[in-house]
């Protein structure tokens, strides 16, 4: 009681809280931001050493800032401000010539020559593909894009089925659309048409598809108890046979003359289209192969372990270009006479084996991160090896290494440019051959082309890496307890 009286009676003791002052000017607004993000490292002059450090830092910052800003400005200037956008008079190369070279642009001009890229755009996208048939590539691309977007956007329904479609129906559909009918030998044809019982027409194909879908619907309804007991008991078998019929329909579609599309040889493929074909095939094939190899490398069976280890280390130890060389030069020697792989298929084999080895190491990292108790627990509840892998281990292991998997995809996507060295006209290869066109020769020709190609690759790779960061954040959020 006495204490309280004293404190309230003394004049210099506050009786109410001090009012909140605004933060100092150096901490808020633009000045605060500048202080925190730029000036903080260069305002310490408390000792000679610190002063020297601050000055050096200031100098370095100004230098880097200057270099960065001038580079960005010159890039923007080159690509947009100074660039030639159109060539209405059809001058071709002279549209991008300065006065010194005989054109009309001011001396010292340096900008992109976009009419050149525009003129070569179709070639860059499709290569020497038949110009009347481009709709086939477009349709394939649009279907793939829509399905992929559907798969990647979380709240959409039926994503599982879209995934199955992408992995089974879509590849066959793309081969049919892009390439045309495969050419089977007469024996293959007669096997596929069951000795001529099923005529190779679109009607038959439709019939097979309807039967397959019918079987699957039957199984679905049966398993919900809406049909007779017999069907309910055999729902699983019926569903399996439905899948078999669908698979048969796919093979039927691939080999028989049920549709009328002109054959377009892979030698006439090119541009961004071939880049995407190689990258997507590599990506899709490398994941299952890589998982198998990783499981083999962690297997308790010494033979499987050694074989997988040697396989992985071999492919990882050599550059991709030597693998592609090997595929294009040695693969024909390895196969029996008469079997002829085309160039694209050889490159695909090389890319698949190569990326599977890298994928295997990524997946192995994920497997090693799984607690031993998960393996023991799943065998304790009576799961077989494959069941425990499929249901317990791999789902956890793969989510652990999503960033690694996407990184491998990005690496693979960038590496597809190497197929241009063995003579395929991928985006870069098409660009290189477009550069050889003297009708567009100008000093800025190659700059414009490489800028365009680099921008396309950047968009793809940067997009993939952002998606992986997004997935990683989402998963780590859900993993947090």
């Amino acid at each position: 009681m006495a204490k309280k009286t004293t404190s309230s009676s003394i004049a210099y003791v506050r009786t109410e809280p001090a009012p909140l002052l605004p933060p100092p000017a150096s901490q808020t607004g633009l000045l605060g931001w500048l202080h925190k993000n730029i000036l903080a490292s260069m305002t310490d002059f408390s000792s000679p050493v610190a002063a020297v450090k601050s000055l050096l830092m200031a100098f370095f910052t100004v230098l880097i800032g200057y270099v960065g800003v001038t580079q960005i400005i010159s890039l923007v200037d080159f690509a947009f401000i100074s660039a030639v956008w159109s060539d209405p008079e059809g001058l071709k190369r002279e549209a991008c010539w300065t006065v010194d070279q005989g054109g009309s642009l001011p001396s010292g001009w340096h900008g992109a020559c976009w009419p050149f890229v525009k003129a070569k755009f179709k070639f860059l996208m499709y290569g020497p593909y038949d110009m009347d048939q481009l709709w086939r590539v477009n349709v394939t691309g649009i279907i793939g894009l829509v399905a992929l977007a559907w798969l990647l956007i979380e709240p959409l329904p039926l994503r599982r089925y879209v995934g199955i479609f992408l992995l089974t129906v879509y590849p066959v559909l793309s081969i049919i659309l892009l390439y045309g009918r495969l050419d089977p030998s007469s024996t293959t044809l007669s096997v596929i048409t069951l000795g001529g019982i099923l005529p190779p027409t679109p009607t038959t194909l439709m019939g097979i598809v309807v039967v397959g879908l019918g079987l699957m619907t039957l199984a679905r309804l049966g398993s919900r108890g809406m049909l007779s007991r017999t069907i309910e008991d055999h729902a699983r078998q019926i569903e399996m046979s439905g899948w078999v019929v669908i698979a048969y329909a796919l093979i039927f579609a691939l080999f028989t003359d049920g549709y009328n599309l002109e054959r377009i040889d892979t030698n006439d493929w090119g541009g961004l289209m071939i880049t995407l074909v190689v990258a997507i095939t590599g990506i899709v094939a490398s994941l299952p192969l890589g998982i198998l190899l990783a499981l083999g490398r962690r297997s308790t069976m010494p033979a499987a372990r050694i074989i997988c280890t040697v396989f992985i280390e071999f492919w990882r130890g050599v550059p991709l270009i030597t693998v592609l060389f090997m595929a294009s030069v040695m693969l024909p020697l390895f196969l029996p006479e008469g079997v002829n792989f085309d160039n694209l298929l050889r490159a695909l084999v090389g890319v698949m084996l190569f990326s599977a080895a890298y994928m295997a190491e990524v997946v192995r990292g994920g497997l090693q991160a799984i607690d031993k108790g998960q393996f023991e627990g799943s065998s304790a509840v009576g799961l077989t090896y494959w069941q425990s892998m499929r249901l317990v281990i791999l789902p956890q292991a793969l989510t652990h290494v999503i960033p690694g998997i996407v990184n491998t995809f990005i690496g693979l996507f960038k590496d597809t440019t190497l197929v241009s060295i063995i003579g395929l006209f991928d985006l870069l290869g098409a660009g290189q051959s477009a550069l050889a066109d003297a009708a567009w020769a100008s000093p800025v020709q190659s700059h414009s082309m490489y800028l365009f190609i680099a921008a396309i690759f950047f968009v793809f790779c940067f997009g993939m890496s952002r998606y992986s960061i997004y997935m990683e954040n989402k998963l780590s959020r859900s993993r947090r307890h």
Binding site: I64, M301, G317, P319, F325, P332, L333, P336, T417
Partner: protein, 405 residues
């Protein structure tokens, strides 16, 4: 009868039996596959009238290779040098560009990695843009850009762009640098340098031992640096500066064919090598920067705080606490980046820099046509290098592994 059946079933359901059966099948199918390939290859080769063997290595190679380290080391001459020489030239050029690339990429990568962690917005932003741009554009596109868009559009052999006037200049033929030509007696300076290295090594050991025993610190770094620079310098000056620096010579007048940089004066780096070197190191630097950043971020903040609490100053904290721990995280992926850089140097085939793939599996293979032998020889170089690297990594990982209770 019944018990027989159950015995068979029992064996069939036994995991050990199953695994043996599976492995035997695996090995058999592997052997069969191998045999199938060998058989096909033999048939194909005999159909083409080709034989297998390495006798082609002693044949003389009939094509020119541009002047590079390899041709200089092996004294390459069209018509006298063999395909074995070509092989070694390829290896030498691969390792030259890989070595130079590794040095440059490491310096750049560490700089960008540290800059990316800086508080300074400008440094951080610059480094982020650089890393994201270079990582997401294929190396081959960058290589083509540097070679075709930059180095191939330089002035022709009669012109030049000065980098340092009268010292370093560049045109389409290459980068002209001064060369240092050692005279008689220069070996003394080299010997002095070697002696300085040995002394520094032993002095470091002694200083460390003394510090551990008595706690006294000996400024080993500065003394060592002084020794390494000072001793050779003194010997060099005493022996009468036996080193002639030869500057590239540029003529602007005279007969048209004699204008430009003069042949044989100074040193010239071919543009192919420059392009490979630049693009490899700029590309790999972005990856190294990310590794460095991750390594530094992996060191717990408590380590810095604990060192401060112990009374260490900022510099020793960095040198004795942060860097050793960050290095443990950095070095394994860094080594694999070095390996990647070496493997990526094979892209040089696209611009015809005479490294292993380009000169041996490209030009020489086209002339000799021994696909199997030559591709095997080429791959074995890369495989050896990668096996050596992984041996080093295993050794390193075992050495720095955290010893836990």
């Amino acid at each position: 009868m019944n018990s027989d059946k159950s015995l068979v079933l029992k064996y069939l359901y036994d995991t050990r039996t199953r695994s043996i059966i599976f492995q035997v099948l695996l090995i058999l199918s592997l052997i069969f596959g191998f045999w199938w390939i060998v058989d096909n290859t033999a048939a194909n080769l005999s159909a083409q009238n080709k034989s297998v063997g390495f006798s082609f290595l002693s044949q003389t190679a009939g094509f020119a290779i541009s002047d590079t380290l390899g041709t200089w080391l092996l004294n390459y001459e069209v018509g006298t040098s063999t395909y074995l020489d070509v092989y070694f030239i390829g290896i030498a050029n691969t390792f030259l560009v890989a070595f130079l690339g590794i040095i440059f990429a490491t310096i750049l990568g560490f700089t960008f990695g540290i800059m990316r962690l800086s508080q300074n917005f400008i440094l951080r932003g610059f480094s982020t843009i650089y890393i994201e741009l270079t990582r997401n554009i294929p190396l081959l596109v960058q290589l083509f850009f540097w070679y075709f868009a930059v180095l191939r559009s330089l002035p022709n052999a009669r012109g030049k762009v000065d980098i340092i006037p009268d010292v370093i200049g560049i045109n389409i033929v290459g980068l002209y640098l001064p060369s240092a030509i050692p005279q008689d007696g220069f070996s003394l300076t080299m010997t002095a340098f070697a002696i300085a290295v040995v002394i520094t090594f032993f002095m470091n050991r002694w200083a460390k031992k003394r510090q551990q025993e008595t706690g006294q610190i000996f400024p080993a770094f500065w003394v060592g640096l002084g020794l390494l620079i000072g001793l050779p310098l003194v010997v060099f000056l005493v022996s009468g500066s036996p080193l002639v620096i030869e500057y590239p010579e540029f003529k602007e007048t005279g007969p048209i064919l004699k204008r430009g940089f003069q042949k044989g004066v100074g040193m010239v780096l071919v543009p192919e090598m420059l392009a490979v070197w630049l693009s490899l190191s700029l590309y790999t630097a972005a990856f190294i920067a990310e590794i460095v950043r991750a390594g530094i971020m992996a060191v717990n903040k408590g380590q810095t705080e604990a060192s401060l609490a112990l009374g260490l100053k900022p510099n020793p904290i960095l040198r004795l606490v942060i860097i050793p721990q960050a290095m443990r995280v950095i070095i394994p992926p860094l080594t694999s980046q070095y390996l990647n850089l070496t493997k990526n140097s094979s892209l040089a085939i696209a611009i015809a820099y005479p490294e292993l793939v380009s000169v041996f599996a490209g030009t020489a293979l086209n002339q000799v046509g021994k696909e199997i032998e030559m591709i095997f020889m080429m791959m074995s170089v890369y495989l050896t290098f990668s096996i050596l690297t992984s041996i080093f990594m295993n050794w390193f990982n075992a050495r720095v592994k955290l010893v836990e209770r």
